[in-house]
């Protein structure tokens, strides 16, 4: 038998579905009512981006990434999965990256074109991550502590941040800042798939929307360049 053909996604996930969701619940139990503050930070970041102040928006969400890195990945998820610490480092790197991007103000979007693909997709992502995702667990009959909230749990943190990045950043800065959130959404979707748990499809859809937003921005830039060249 070919060794590689014998591996499946399940071989890389060393815990069960109920352990994973219990971990989410424990985050909720442990940190409530921090959720209110992190949600306010998320909403504030979106408001600032909409008011063309992406620099402060990036600074607002950077500490949230650092918190999830330590509290979720390094202190808890790392007990279940040897990769947890490494993912925690990636989240810390994202926090540093958001600070770096915001300081020089490079790649920050100056104005919003409301019908542009990155703005439409970014808007959809922040709405889903901030408003819809926290309601999914209670609507499914689970406890409020299982509600996944921006700034406390990694999925909504990545989704809302990706939305803010699509809304507020442009060009290279947007692509660079989007890498880690997209990678986590992919890992999370694959984890749910391996656990045969609900929600994998939704995360894959989020991933596709995020990538479409990035590609849409690239297409807009190309079209803009073409128009500029014709104008010359």
């Amino acid at each position: 038998m070919n060794d590689w053909a014998s591996y499946s996604l399940q071989n890389f996930i060393p815990f069960t579905e109920n352990v994973y969701f219990r971990l989410m619940e424990r985050m909720g139990e442990t940190f409530w009512p921090l959720h209110l503050l992190t949600l306010a930070l998320g909403a504030g970041a979106v408001a600032l981006v909409l008011k063309h102040r992406p620099r402060i928006a990036c600074l607002l969400i950077a500490p949230v990434w650092a918190f999830v890195a330590v509290a979720f990945f390094m202190q808890r998820y790392g007990q279940l999965n040897w990769a947890g610490d490494y993912i925690g480092y990636a989240f810390l790197a994202q926090a540093a990256l958001l600070v770096l991007i915001s300081l020089p103000g490079r790649g920050l979007g100056k104005s919003l074109h409301w019908k542009s693909p990155p703005v439409l997709t970014g808007g959809a992502l922040v709405f889903f991550g901030l408003v819809v995702q926290p309601l999914l667990a209670p609507l499914a009959g689970d406890s409020w502590y299982q509600a996944q909230v921006f700034g406390v749990h990694p999925d909504p943190t990545a989704i809302v941040s990706l939305g803010v990045i699509l809304l507020g950043l442009r060009s290279l800065a947007m692509w660079v800042a989007a890498v880690i959130p997209l990678l986590w959404i992919l890992i999370s979707a694959l984890t749910l798939l391996a656990l045969d748990a609900p929600g994998a499809t939704v995360l894959f859809a989020v991933l596709v929307i995020g990538v479409l937003g990035l590609i849409g921005d690239a297409c807009c830039n190309v079209a803009f360049l073409k128009r500029s060249n014709k104008g010359e």
Binding site: M1, F15, T16, Q79
Partner: protein
């Protein structure tokens, strides 16, 4: 005070009514197996406890399983040793990796309690299984270390450190003084690790040594090691839908006097869940020929009735599934003809 008396006092002090091999954690008590077997009065108590366990199990089970519950759990000898192992053990991959969640730690402790209450022996874990060794340590601290425990661990290169360092670290995590069996996990750096484990066995630091594989991987190299190295145990994937081991590895194990642990008896849960989800009914002949009342009986009895297999290690998070698993090691076992019929039946589905 003789060691026998000392241990009996410790057993009396064990709060859960389960026999404790040692009271507390990490007290220095050398080698377990032979001394355990030598104490006459303890064997009597063990029998009494097993009878109690079987009675309790019978009370809590549907009437169709009463007769099976009253039968003793089948044991098979480790080749070349006086040691006998109950044919149903317990795996911990995925199921026991719960971190430090108090709620889940308690739940897994109940699974371990049930396992030993019903006569279980071998528990298998690995440094690859995240917090599973710590969770076993938690359960054993809470329950006391049962007389029947046969602690099996592994060394695994990515965990870091030498084999000796890994074993010492794992002993601390489990809270035991030595492991009955240490295996080289998935053949990683097997030459180095196996040599180190052989040394430790010679020093009396570990009971038996072995190698593992799963999912049918690297059977060629596995066979080569079985043929050339002095090992006591092999662990491999063997279940009713994955029977490659029947061709060469199981006959070789029999020939070489190597004990066999069968992992993934339910193919990672897919096999039994698939049968239950589809609403498949057990064939009547399975009950008549070998006392199969559940799919767990059917699947586990098939494995442990192979003459070369010592023990299957299903993993579970639930007490009721543990009960089902442990019942499969009791009562009548399928004959060679029944085993063929069982395999053909599953293939026909």
């Amino acid at each position: 005070m003789s060691r026998g008396n000392a241990i009996n006092k410790e057993q009396d002090a064990c709060p859960d009514g389960i026999f404790c091999r040692y009271l507390g954690r990490n007290q220095s008590q050398p080698g377990a197996g032979a001394e355990r077997l030598a104490m006459n009065n303890r064997l009597t108590r063990r029998q009494i406890l097993r009878l109690m366990g079987a009675t309790l199990a019978a009370v809590s089970l549907p009437s169709g399983q009463l007769f099976a519950a009253a039968d003793p759990l089948l044991e098979k000898p480790v080749p070349g040793a006086g040691h006998k192992l109950p044919v149903i053990g317990m795996g911990t991959w995925r199921t026991f990796n719960v971190g430090n969640d108090p709620q889940l730690l308690e739940a897994r402790t109940e699974v371990v309690r049930e396992f030993f209450r019903l006569g279980g022996g071998l528990v298998d874990s690995s440094p690859m299984y995240g917090s599973a060794p710590d969770v076993m340590g938690y359960a054993l601290e809470k329950l006391g270390i049962p007389e029947s425990l046969f602690a099996a661990e592994k060394v695994w290169s990515p965990a870091g450190g030498s084999a000796r360092e890994q074993v010492e670290s794992l002993e601390q995590r489990w809270g035991v003084n030595r492991f009955d069996l240490v295996q080289v996990h998935n053949l990683t750096d097997w030459r180095t690790h196996l040599a180190a484990l052989q040394e430790m066995k010679a020093e009396g630091r570990v009971g038996y040594v072995g190698i593992t594989t799963s999912h049918g991987r690297r059977h060629g190299e596995f066979e080569q090691i079985m043929g050339s190295e002095d090992i006591d145990f092999v662990q491999l994937t063997y279940n009713i839908t994955h029977r490659e081991a029947e061709n060469r590895l199981l006959p070789l194990a029999k020939e070489r006097g190597i004990a066999v642990i069968a992992n993934r008896p339910y193919d990672g849960g897919r096999l039994i869940k698939g049968l239950q989800r589809r609403g498949e009914k057990l064939p009547r002949w399975a009950e008549e020929e070998c006392g199969c009342n559940t799919w767990a009986d059917f699947l586990l009895k098939f494995i442990v009735s192979h003459p070369a297999v010592n023990c299957a290690i299903p993993a579970t998070t639930r007490v009721e599934h543990m009960k089902e698993n442990m019942l499969a090691g009791r009562g009548e076992m399928p004959s060679a003809a029944s085993r063929k019929r069982m395999a053909a039946f599953i293939e026909s589905l």
